[in-house]
């Protein structure tokens, strides 16, 4: 009896998924003149690649006995994406929120997430999205892997966990590889990794009853020099609105006339010969 319990405990996977709330690009509202983002009027969503990381976590949970924790750093309204994660079926959600975390570049973000991961206790698999659609840096996964000193694997086709190691098929450079790696590991997911499930209605109904655990700077330790803008080596010194205005010659008329004029343009620029 005892032995069985031990085996079960051994196989229990602790999975932590790092997510980010991002403005829904393609539908951003920008202030005229400055060109900066109007955050009030822009809808926020879970970063798309992070949804694939969540999906991978839930897939592993179905296959192996697992406990899935979702972590995000952001303002209080970043809770929204954590409720969404509860609706998808994760076990625990943690919001890292503190005035001191504001303005973090990728280095300070990775440091904050890594410290939180260590505070959460043991972990076997950390999951992140490959890249976030707002910053487009792809830095955070690699830097968490450095902070925690664990291997990072990207472009995963499939994964199998055997005791305390993983067998993974992945694409690497221009090769498909089958590799073996000891846990803990970090995996970065993107849209090639899987198809994201829909929430069940029952889970959507229940998600707001679940508790979101909040952690602040005091919980993570360190000083305010480590976090946010003070802990960020990168500084934005200037922003200029992006203007590359050209002559904007308007082509008018009905469809036929417009196409005809376009053909003339092609000829004028030697794309088509007369």
């Amino acid at each position: 009896m005892n032995l069985q319990i031990n085996i079960r405990e051994k196989l229990m996977l602790n999975i932590i998924v790092c997510t980010k709330q991002v403005p829904k690009t393609g539908n951003v509202k920008v202030y005229k003149g400055t060109g900066t983002l109007n955050r009030k009027e822009t809808e926020n969503i879970i970063n798309p690649d992070d949804l694939h990381a969540l999906e991978l976590a839930l897939h592993l949970k179905e296959k192996y006995e697992s406990h899935v924790t979702v972590l995000t750093m952001g303002p209080d309204n970043a809770e929204d994406i954590l409720y969404e994660a509860y609706a998808l079926g994760v076990d625990k959600c943690v919001l890292l929120s503190d005035e001191q975390f504001r303005g973090a570049d990728t280095y300070a973000t990775s440091l904050t997430l890594s410290r939180a991961i260590e505070k959460l206790g043991g972990y076997d698999i950390i999951l992140t999205g490959m890249t976030a659609i707002d910053g487009n840096t792809s830095h955070v996964g690699y830097q968490i892997s450095e902070f925690l000193n664990i291997p990072l694997i990207t472009q995963i086709n499939d994964i199998e966990i055997i005791e305390k190691h993983a067998i993974i098929n992945r694409l690497y450079g221009h090769e498909y590889q089958k590799v073996e790696v000891d846990l803990p590991i970090l995996l970065a997911a993107d849209k090639e990794t899987n198809h994201v499930r829909f929430s069940k209605f029952s889970d959507i109904n229940n998600c707001f009853d679940k508790k979101i655990i909040k952690m602040n700077m005091e919980d993570l330790g360190g000083t305010e020099d480590d976090y946010g803008i003070k802990g960020s080596p990168s500084i934005v010194v200037k922003t200029e609105s992006f203007t590359h205005k050209r002559q904007q010659e308007k082509i008018d008329g009905n469809l036929d006339e417009k196409v005809e004029q376009f053909i003339d343009i092609l000829k004028k620029h030697n794309i088509l010969k007369y």
């Binding site: 403005p23 951003v28 920008v30 202030y31 400055t34 060109g35 900066t36 983002l37 822009t42 570049d105 990728t106 280095y107 990775s110 890249t131 910053g135 487009n136 840096t137 792809s138 830095h139 690699y142 830097q143 892997s145 450095e146 291997p151 694997i153 067998i167 690497y172 450079g173 221009h174 090769e175 498909y176 590889q177 590799v179 073996e180 003070k230 080596p233 990168s234 500084i235 934005v236 010194v237 200037k238 922003t239 200029e240 609105s241 992006f242 590359h244 050209r246 904007q248 010659e249 308007k250 082509i251 469809l255 417009k258 005809e260 376009f262 343009i265 092609l266 620029h269 794309i271 088509l272």
Partner: protein, 348 residues
């Protein structure tokens, strides 16, 4: 951020040169070397190359043509592919020894793994996807700094980013952003660069990701958007996969290539190799024609070098209109269909 104590000792621009598919030097590395040469001459510094690979000696004469001052190279079977332990470890050592002012890499699978890892180890800043680089004296910080420009995190702005208190200053640049300069145009010096061979003494038992079986080759779909002289690009406004497919017919008629913004790639109307923009490719064709493209900065910052820009969009106020030479206010799908019909008559 606490200032690095020996900040004044950091000198020279180190460039990571990548060997593509262990066959040739990546074109983007030459482009980056050209930019590094320009910045080094401006600020009286040297250009250092670091290149690791298998039988890497065969590439050195090609690299010499970009006029670096020193080439650090290492040749070993274990360096045949980029490795996320060996490469960062070896280059960390090199940075510790030579203290470069800046470290530049291409934004490729290798470069995007390597650079943030190094930045973490030196607790320094790293800016990815730069669209321009410069070196200037910033009075606020009392020293020369690497200015890294890239589209801002949100909105239609370009941000200039510096990491003034830490070294080295790190940046990645997508292939296609800078232009490769031929040797005589870079400068007229003809000295050979200094060649420094690095010893390979990596303890391979430390490798954590182990290959279980011999890998199989993945035939990458090569879409050479960077070199195309005419590109037709579809965006969200193309509306469906069926219409998007017509772009291939149109590109065929005009002897061009098909590009896309993020939406068609996400909706799987086309493959990722066709994506133009911050997470895709940078282009500089003679003619760029956009259909149903709204003009978010993540896309448009990668098309500014096009000679002629034509935009077809039903939304008159689409951001892309402003940066177009010709603006056609029309539904993308109808225009594509009509244009194909008309071109077939023309070319017949």
């Amino acid at each position: 951020m606490k200032q690095v104590t020996d900040i004044e000792e950091y000198q020279n621009i180190m460039v990571f040169v990548e060997i593509r598919d262990h066959e040739q030097v990546l074109e983007g590395s030459f482009e980056l070397l050209s930019k590094a040469r320009e910045l080094a001459d401006k600020s009286d510094q040297k250009v250092d190359v670091v290149v690791l690979g298998k039988d890497v000696e065969q590439y050195l004469s090609d690299i010499e043509l970009s006029n670096p001052d020193r080439i650090f190279y290492c040749s070993h079977e274990a360096l045949k592919h980029y490795d996320s332990q060996i490469f960062p470890d070896m280059i960390t050592q090199l940075i510790k020894e030579h203290k470069p002012f800046a470290f530049l890499a291409t934004f490729t699978e290798a470069g995007k793994d390597l650079t943030p890892r190094l930045a973490q180890r030196f607790a320094t800043g790293c800016t990815s996807h730069c669209t321009d680089l410069d070196i200037e004296h910033l009075p606020d910080y009392g020293r020369d700094l690497l200015l890294m420009k890239r589209p801002a995190f949100s909105g239609n702005v370009i941000a200039t980013i510096v990491s003034p208190h830490t070294m080295p200053q790190m940046a990645t640049v997508q292939p296609g952003v800078f232009r490769k300069q031929s040797r005589d145009r870079i400068n007229n010096k003809s000295e050979k660069p200094e060649m420094i061979e690095l010893a390979f003494d990596y303890d391979l038992s430390k490798i954590r990701i182990k290959n279980l079986s011999s890998p199989t080759r993945w035939e990458k779909k090569h879409v050479l958007l960077e070199e195309a002289s005419l590109i037709v690009t579809g965006g969200r406004g193309v509306k469906d996969k069926k219409t998007f497919k017509l772009l291939h017919e149109l590109a065929g008629l005009l002897n061009g290539e098909v590009g896309a913004t993020r939406v068609p790639v996400f909706k799987e109307w086309c493959s990722e190799e066709r994506m133009i923009g911050q997470t895709g490719k940078s282009i500089k064709p003679k003619l760029y024609i956009s259909f149903g493209v709204s003009g978010q900065i993540q896309h448009t910052s990668s098309i500014v070098d096009s000679e002629i820009i034509v935009s077809v969009n039903i939304d008159e106020k689409a951001l892309i209109s402003e940066m177009s030479d010709y603006v056609i206010n029309e539904d993308a799908a109808s225009f594509i269909k009509q244009l194909i019909t008309r071109l077939k008559k023309e070319i017949r």
